[in-house]
Symmetry: C5
Subunit: 353 residues, 5 copies
Amino acid sequence: MARFLSNTEKSIGKIPGELIFLGKRKSDVIIKLIDYDVKDFLEKELSTIEEALTLKANDSVTWLNLYGLHDTSVIKEIGEKFEIHPLALEDILNTGQRPKMEEYENNLFFSLKMFQINKSENMITSVQISIILGENYLITFQEEAGEVFEPVRKRIRKNKGRVRKNGAGYLVYALLDTIIDNYLVVIGSLGEEIEEFESEVLTNPNKDTLGKIYSFKQEVSYLRKSIRPTKDFIVKLNRIDSDYIQDEALPFLKDLLDLTIQASEATDIYNEILSDQLEMYNSGMNNRLNEIMKVLTIFSVIFIPLTFIAGIYGTNFEYIPELKYRYGYFIFWGVLVITAILMLGFFKRKKWL
Amino acid sequence: MARFLSNTEKSIGKIPGELIFLGKRKSDVIIKLIDYDVKDFLEKELSTIEEALTLKANDSVTWLNLYGLHDTSVIKEIGEKFEIHPLALEDILNTGQRPKMEEYENNLFFSLKMFQINKSENMITSVQISIILGENYLITFQEEAGEVFEPVRKRIRKNKGRVRKNGAGYLVYALLDTIIDNYLVVIGSLGEEIEEFESEVLTNPNKDTLGKIYSFKQEVSYLRKSIRPTKDFIVKLNRIDSDYIQDEALPFLKDLLDLTIQASEATDIYNEILSDQLEMYNSGMNNRLNEIMKVLTIFSVIFIPLTFIAGIYGTNFEYIPELKYRYGYFIFWGVLVITAILMLGFFKRKKWL
Amino acid sequence: MARFLSNTEKSIGKIPGELIFLGKRKSDVIIKLIDYDVKDFLEKELSTIEEALTLKANDSVTWLNLYGLHDTSVIKEIGEKFEIHPLALEDILNTGQRPKMEEYENNLFFSLKMFQINKSENMITSVQISIILGENYLITFQEEAGEVFEPVRKRIRKNKGRVRKNGAGYLVYALLDTIIDNYLVVIGSLGEEIEEFESEVLTNPNKDTLGKIYSFKQEVSYLRKSIRPTKDFIVKLNRIDSDYIQDEALPFLKDLLDLTIQASEATDIYNEILSDQLEMYNSGMNNRLNEIMKVLTIFSVIFIPLTFIAGIYGTNFEYIPELKYRYGYFIFWGVLVITAILMLGFFKRKKWL
Amino acid sequence: MARFLSNTEKSIGKIPGELIFLGKRKSDVIIKLIDYDVKDFLEKELSTIEEALTLKANDSVTWLNLYGLHDTSVIKEIGEKFEIHPLALEDILNTGQRPKMEEYENNLFFSLKMFQINKSENMITSVQISIILGENYLITFQEEAGEVFEPVRKRIRKNKGRVRKNGAGYLVYALLDTIIDNYLVVIGSLGEEIEEFESEVLTNPNKDTLGKIYSFKQEVSYLRKSIRPTKDFIVKLNRIDSDYIQDEALPFLKDLLDLTIQASEATDIYNEILSDQLEMYNSGMNNRLNEIMKVLTIFSVIFIPLTFIAGIYGTNFEYIPELKYRYGYFIFWGVLVITAILMLGFFKRKKWL
Amino acid sequence: MARFLSNTEKSIGKIPGELIFLGKRKSDVIIKLIDYDVKDFLEKELSTIEEALTLKANDSVTWLNLYGLHDTSVIKEIGEKFEIHPLALEDILNTGQRPKMEEYENNLFFSLKMFQINKSENMITSVQISIILGENYLITFQEEAGEVFEPVRKRIRKNKGRVRKNGAGYLVYALLDTIIDNYLVVIGSLGEEIEEFESEVLTNPNKDTLGKIYSFKQEVSYLRKSIRPTKDFIVKLNRIDSDYIQDEALPFLKDLLDLTIQASEATDIYNEILSDQLEMYNSGMNNRLNEIMKVLTIFSVIFIPLTFIAGIYGTNFEYIPELKYRYGYFIFWGVLVITAILMLGFFKRKKWL
């Protein structure tokens, strides 16, 4: 399957706005609810969406976390209850969606990627996270149950930091911050591998080096593909004037932009470094070839004339005066040694030795 | 013929606005009509354009589908009846037209490409589709009869999705969506081939590999050439304030932009991947050369001195003391073996073995 | 002479606004006049500028075509009579002028290039065409008599197309359209050669291939150098609000922009294709080197040990037991054949055979 | 550790706005105060922040210089006393912060890097400097005590230049000017090394050359990574309309922009020069390979036929007429010499000699 | 010294606005004055600045030309008398200043470079020219006496062209025009060399070719470094609305922009051409290597088997039947010839011959 453009087969002939899950079933449907304000806090697992609606009516912030996207009826119900635009619902179900933010009449929609380092295959994979931000509620959609947002939940539970004191706009910041922090971690970890790889490339290049550089390049491309559009919508997020984002959250969004730019720049730098490494590798291999050819040439150039001289005195001509000399054999050796020394001198002068 | 700039020969000396068909005759002229509103639906093949005009006067959406462009009189008649600008008519007939959207007084004109994968020649070809969007009518022009828009027609017939409930602006979206979905499918299919090709490039590069990379590059270029201007006009389409596009259609157009950007980015990524693959191929071939030269050098460097030594004792000097030794031959063998071992040690130290 | 920056020597120390012809004398001065409106048409060769002035006063469109620029007094006279800005006159005489459009108080000035394919030298050359567009007159300046605008003249004579029905603004469009159509023809013809060249590069690269790619690159650069600034001023032309360009001409100017963009994109694509071809050429040459070295290595590696073995039994040691064996010579042959087979097996395993 | 993206490990799971020092403890906490106006000047080391607050209330400019960031309680106290936004405090403590300027309600925040050339490791390192600019005070935060701002302090002490005559806005300019001057010095010093390296690359390329080019490239990348965002915020600084920057300081900020652009352009140029050097290196190595192969080929091609001829007359056929000739041996030598001369002539014609 | 970033050492620790000459003393201080209006003209060498001030008060245009910058007291005095901003004075003295234009309250400041071709070292050098344009005066600062502006002075003296009829704004245009004309001359001359170099690269590449391409690249980079910022400020100059630039001068400034863009584009084109030449050079060297290896391989592959066969019949086995044949020697020769012919056929089929 094309890793850089997924889900294309399934989406053909689909009616726009039709709800079809385009990913793989990864998890049962679980709906978790957190409801809080500065004073109160409630956390429970829901079996029906109805329960959430009564809480949504309050002033408290209601955070609905949905795991598992294959049951489109649940998605549809949430869509209707929370007045989510059909295109947003469609994007939630299309797990190959390009990261984006969309302003709809009743809420803001975010779609972005969370990266995971797949150690066994030495590959970075991604899962899609969709967020709906409304007046005083927030809904997150994930393909499978995961611990991604656990730190934020902890802060809410323990009332640490600013999260309980602020509205849903701050909560969306906290979630985005968690995701983009994760980008920096993944890039940092990949970057460390790439920077360490430098010494292999420069001092001990071998056959596998090439494949590794190529696969590093693919990973960096894979990251850039998601980080660039994320950066674009964070820029947009800093400029829009939405009711759902409270003024207190604004400086934090600026900080978020800063992080995203840093992530984006880092991928660019690592891309450049990999290109440099490839060039170094190629130059290194060329140097090795030079080295190999030098050895071949030096040996050949020294011994070929010697062998030729030996060949001459191996001929069976009836009259070869040198063969009769008393010290012919030793003179012969002398000629060989002198020839060899002359050749060595030639290479010395050429600075090949 | 220049694949990347076609129809240039025929257009020379043409009077601007003169209607000359610049493509190849591919199909008889067929005119199909679909007329619908939320309640009613009519589908028939027309023999005269007149029939369409009475329907156009109604509030219902009238969709005229014309196959075959070689009969310029038909095009001219439609142009007059539907008040299409002469330049739009000219662009419809020029099958090498660059994708674009143009606002005219009485309608919007779209020209874009539909891709087809020509399996036999392993090449992507394109056909041109032109669309005229007016008050409550839409005319599509195609070079030959095809099933491209069949899914949309089905939805209209069966009243599935939103298409019957919305105006001509939504219908144009549905058609553009079909075309751009096709882009993603074609890119996805090409991309899959390219991604799978990676293993051939890395593990088993051969002569044909080069030609394949080059032809992949050409295909990606060919796609980009059409997708880039398409993206440009979809951006423009999202910004214009046209009477022919109803407000309900706007979020769908945004979604379309999203798809087009995704298509455009994917071609960029595959272009980069192909450049990487070419670099990998070259590096791989260099490694092979190194490998070959190493084998040659090792064999030469080991045997050249041995052959030289054998040559010495093949000389016919009268007095070569070694030849007379009792175990001369065996000592000779000993020298050969030791020399060979020294050479092997030399290569071992150089890490060539 | 520097082909990519011409006329620099002559312009040194020139007083700005001073009229010095910076090209080569290519033609005698000829002044042709065409004067027309919807009904009437007049065509003649003028001997004095005065004749044109009386016609200019009418409502009819007056088109003055001047061939030959070396007689600066004629240029000066026209400049005075038609109130042309001194800088425009200077640009008309500087045949190395960068394509541009300039708005002056009394008229619009256009300077652009017409390409010609010089078949004998296999090189694209260009001649400069300058156009002055005023209220109801148009003056074109060319270095030498040529058929460039003949198709437009024909259309005026025979009253074909829109040209006679529209003002001078449409005429300038018709001329620009002729020139830019010529760009597409030249690019198309070059592009065809480049695309056909692909098979030579891929299947039969040789020494001349390199020089051809380089010269193609130069030609594409040469085209881009003129087409880019032309595109820039056509963009500008679409935005300005000039009295001399009538409203009816506006959609045609948009169409012109479209053509220019197409020309510009095509040069970009062919530039990329040439870079790809060069890469393919290099990779192909590397493959050939690999091939050559493989042949050398296989032959050397097989025969070097065999020659060594033969060398051993060519030595003149007194006691070499093998030499005395009854079937020594045949055993010797057996050893040679087995050694050769082992070597062939070695290459088979390495997949070199 | 990833040099191009630091501190990522520690920041995981951090609550936004939580104050955690993300660098290494490099210095004890020292707080130095300078307070001045045109007439008066005061300099002392503080043990409590309180002392500064009374001075801040005056019209004089108060400059607080803090060394050592590990004691977050001090930072927190300063933050509270001077009303610094929590995100600014967080950025001060994150020593891997991307250079930036941020406008907060009560002050402007700057974060930037100071470069140091680490001679022993031949590497450029950087330390972070954060600046808070308020109404009539300025606070600088540094990881460790250093002489960076000593020249500015001297000028204040001796009342040299404009610094005492202007407000805190001019002081921030003076500090930024010192830092960016340092960029130019570091780039200039690196640039000189790179330009001098040119002769090694062109005349005496060797194995280490490659590693040096790579490490130069890394250093230039490292500089660009900090200089680019610095340039961005200096551009922004020239456009904002802040109360804390007095009008007299504006032309100086323009000058600062000029310096930053110069720094940024210089890194771009050196990056290009390094790419050129790498290309030259590769081309040079290829030339050497050509040279080596030429020597091998010339020797082989001359001696291989000679050895063959000698081999023929070394055969033991019973009847070889040449062997019996009186002057057979000398004719044989003649043939050898003629063959060698023919070969030399062949190479002469090929211009290999 | 770093050629691409100069004067960095001296500027360290400099107080902003402090006047220190950062170049080398190249000339004694000479002050020349030209004062003119349409009717009158005065030219003399001044010993004091005072003289100029009385003339400045008149309506005539006063042009002060200062050669030699090492005497900062003179600069300071001019600065005070003509109310030049301290930062402008500083930039005048910093001969490594990046080209720029700055608007100050009382005048416009221009800093730009004049190129000189240093024939002996085959290098382009530059000198800095600073211009102050005020109400009706203009001051030029040059490092050393030179003939740069002589053509303009001649035109003023002889009242040729427009210069005497227009104000100081036109004079500044005339000077800038002279400088930028010089850019085109220098680029044209370098470009010619580069274009002529093409034939060496393609037909006779040798070791020096590489160094020449590199040095051409450096020269082009050196030119671009100054021309780009010059273009930037000429763009700015065309947009500002300054009192010191009279309306009549505006079309001339546009023309200037045109020239600068042409200069800038030409450097870009020559940069590309040089990159192409380097690629051609590398490809050409690879072809030569192929050629060399082919010669080696053909000779080796033909003679190695022949030598082996000869070796066989050189062995001393007691019983080698072939040796006894009557025509053994001639059959042996036949085998050799047939083997050689087979090898030649093999190469013929491979198209190596």
